[in-house]
């Protein structure tokens, strides 16, 4: 009897502890951002903020060209993710459904492409972009971000495409659809969750990217938010309120997107992951 009670309690107890462990840093970021400085710099932490201030957010947003950086970040992230989804969709269909010579070689290429050490290729990329006279432009940045997420997108989408029963497509073709039509009308709608799950990864990667933009775009008008966040931290290192406000602002778009897509992502991710 005693044991079964214990058996019922421990999973819930562990879940609560884990929840606190995972959520606390996020909570602490937001709560610090809203606390007056007096409540931040104190020997006994203020666990629940009572006075709320927006002063830190004002400071964070007062940075030069803040809104330009926001616009740049959104542009670069969205364009690169959408482009990689389109390209990957075509490729993953071929990889999952067709037999052709060189398939394994191509698969291996994408798997190795996933390992590309982008942080250390920045010099080579810098020289190429410089020689093409495209420094301080969002175009190469977008292109390379797209490339960073492309291999993962192809490999994951390939799993989703393979998980759509072949019979559906075949019966559509028997009904007189051409193959592209069958793809558009039958497979594409079923890939919705897969596309969303995969796009999350792309959004996070592109939104976070830091070394490349640091080297390529010295001109503030063409920079993105990760640079702002890191420079902000250098400038206001000890001003934790402002730093946390900046971090919160940086995290909010991804948090919203994630919570919005979470359900679909979770239900779909395994199919993709298992096929790897």
């Amino acid at each position: 009897m005693k044991r079964s009670l214990f058996g019922r309690i421990w999973p819930n107890l562990t879940a609560v502890v884990l929840f606190i462990g995972f959520a606390f840093p996020v909570y602490w970021m937001f709560s610090t951002a809203f606390k007056p400085t007096g409540d931040i710099i104190t020997d006994t932490p203020v666990w629940f903020p009572t006075d709320i201030t927006f002063e830190h957010f004002k400071k964070a947003m007062a940075a030069d060209h803040f809104w330009t950086l926001v616009r740049n970040s959104f542009t670069v992230t969205i364009v690169s993710v959408v482009a990689s989804l389109v390209i990957a969709l075509l490729a993953s269909f071929a990889m999952a459904r067709m037999r052709f010579k060189g398939r394994r070689g191509i698969l291996l290429t994408f798997m190795i492409a996933q390992m590309a050490p982008w942080e250390v290729m920045v010099i080579a990329i810098y020289m190429l972009v410089r020689d093409a006279d495209m420094l301080n432009s969002l175009v190469p940045l977008t292109a390379f971000y797209m490339m960073m997420v492309l291999p993962f997108t192809i490999l994951t989408l390939r799993g989703y495409v393979a998980a759509v029963p072949k019979e559906l497509e075949e019966s559509a073709m028997v009904d007189g659809c051409t193959r592209p039509q069958a793809f558009r009308k039958v497979i594409l709608p079923l890939l919705g969750p897969g596309l969303m799950a995969t796009s999350l990864f792309g959004f996070i990667t592109a939104w976070n990217e830091f070394p490349l933009v640091l080297i390529l775009n010295k001109d503030i008008e063409s920079q993105t938010l990760p640079l702002w966040l890191s420079q902000f931290q250098t400038a206001f290192g000890d001003d934790w309120g402002a730093t946390m406000a900046a971090s919160s602002l940086f995290a909010i778009p991804i948090l919203i997107l994630f919570i919005y897509l979470q359900r679909k992502a979770v239900s779909g991710l395994t199919d993709g992951a298992v096929k790897g």
């Binding site: 080579a124 966040l229 948090l255 199919d271």
Partner: protein
């Protein structure tokens, strides 16, 4: 013993194993022929951008690794070949091998932690009631969704020497020497901090996926196992693990790559310090190449980095290629 389920390959594999239908129906044969140029046309955009945006920089990078390239040469557009000097210098020094060893250990420790804890959390999710599962899921998603740079900043604040909440808690729990502890003062504590950030952010991916995958295990398998007298540990090793194996392999592969390539966390938290003791290969290449402006040297290190990563993932790559062969 009514249900004897021997075949565990259910949904995901369904679309794959069908090719060997003996009689080629009209659809099947047309599909066989359609394999002419169609797949290549579909792959052209992907292969083209890969060649231009990844292949070309890689080749360029390879060429740079055989050059003496410092700020002077970079600004004046000079090309000074110096053969394999860069590689000789990198491989000859003791630094490089120490960094390799450190990177491998760092990756191994992180991946093991991530996979083991992630798996336990995933199985816990499957065991919880609906409400508690949602609560835990919310916590996991919050951690997962934090952009890496924001997460790194937050952890710096949590572990700040003065006014950091972690030091406060440790102190008030009775560990008074931690009151003003500087977490970036030693190799071990810096690595612990970085590991915590990485593990905290990576577990949700593993746990949620594993939970989702485990919901597809047919219940009959467990029933059969318990009828055969298996205890819960046995049914875990005999049913759960084999069923989840392809998933675990794929996830481990991704985690190895992601952890090995961790850059922002290590770089932002302590810049590879103290005394360059927490530089892993990507950080080492960046510090040597970009920081110290030995660009050719950095290129050589980055090339060696790829080789180390390939060696670490060779087993998985081989498995996947073999599997691919079986399917065709």
């Amino acid at each position: 013993m009514s249900v004897q389920t021997e075949k565990a390959d259910s949904v995901p594999a369904a679309g794959v194993r069908k090719d060997d239908a003996p009689s080629g129906g009209p659809a099947a044969s047309s599909r066989g022929r359609a394999g002419g140029s169609a797949p290549y046309l579909l792959l052209v955009p992907a292969l083209l951008v890969t060649a231009v945006l990844l292949g070309y920089p890689l080749v360029k990078n390879g060429m740079l690794s055989f050059q003496n390239l410092n700020p002077r040469q970079l600004i004046l557009h000079l090309t000074e070949w110096n053969g394999i000097d860069n590689y000789k210098e990198v491989l000859g020094g003791s630094d490089f091998w120490r960094v390799v060893e450190r990177s491998v250990l760092f990756t191994a420790a992180n991946v093991v932690l991530i996979m083991v804890i992630g798996m336990m959390v995933g199985l816990l999710l499957a065991r919880l009631g609906k409400k508690m599962r949602l609560v835990l899921m919310l916590g996991l998603v919050l951690a997962w969704a934090m952009p890496m740079i924001a997460a790194t900043t937050v952890y710096q604040w949590l572990f700040a020497q003065r006014f950091g909440v972690v030091n406060y808690v440790l102190d008030s729990l009775g560990w008074h020497s931690m009151a003003d502890f500087n977490w970036t003062s030693s190799q071990l504590s810096t690595f612990s901090l970085v590991t915590l950030v990485i593990v905290w952010q990576s577990i949700p991916f593993v746990a949620i996926n594993l939970y989702a995958a485990s919901t597809t295990i047919p219940k009959e398998l467990y029933e059969a196992a318990s009828l055969d007298g298996a205890n819960s540990w046995k049914s875990f090793t005999l049913v759960t693990l084999p069923f989840l194996k392809p998933f675990l392999l794929a996830t481990t592969f991704l985690e190895v790559i992601w952890v090995f390539k961790s850059f922002a966390q290590l770089f932002a938290i302590n810049g590879g310090g103290p005394d360059r003791l927490t530089e892993t290969l990507p950080v080492y290449a960046f510090v040597e190449g970009v920081g110290n402006q030995h660009f050719g040297m950095g290129a050589a290190i980055s090339f060696l980095t790829i080789i180390v990563l390939l060696a670490m993932t060779a087993y998985y790559l081989r498995t996947v290629l073999k599997q691919e062969e079986d399917e065709l």
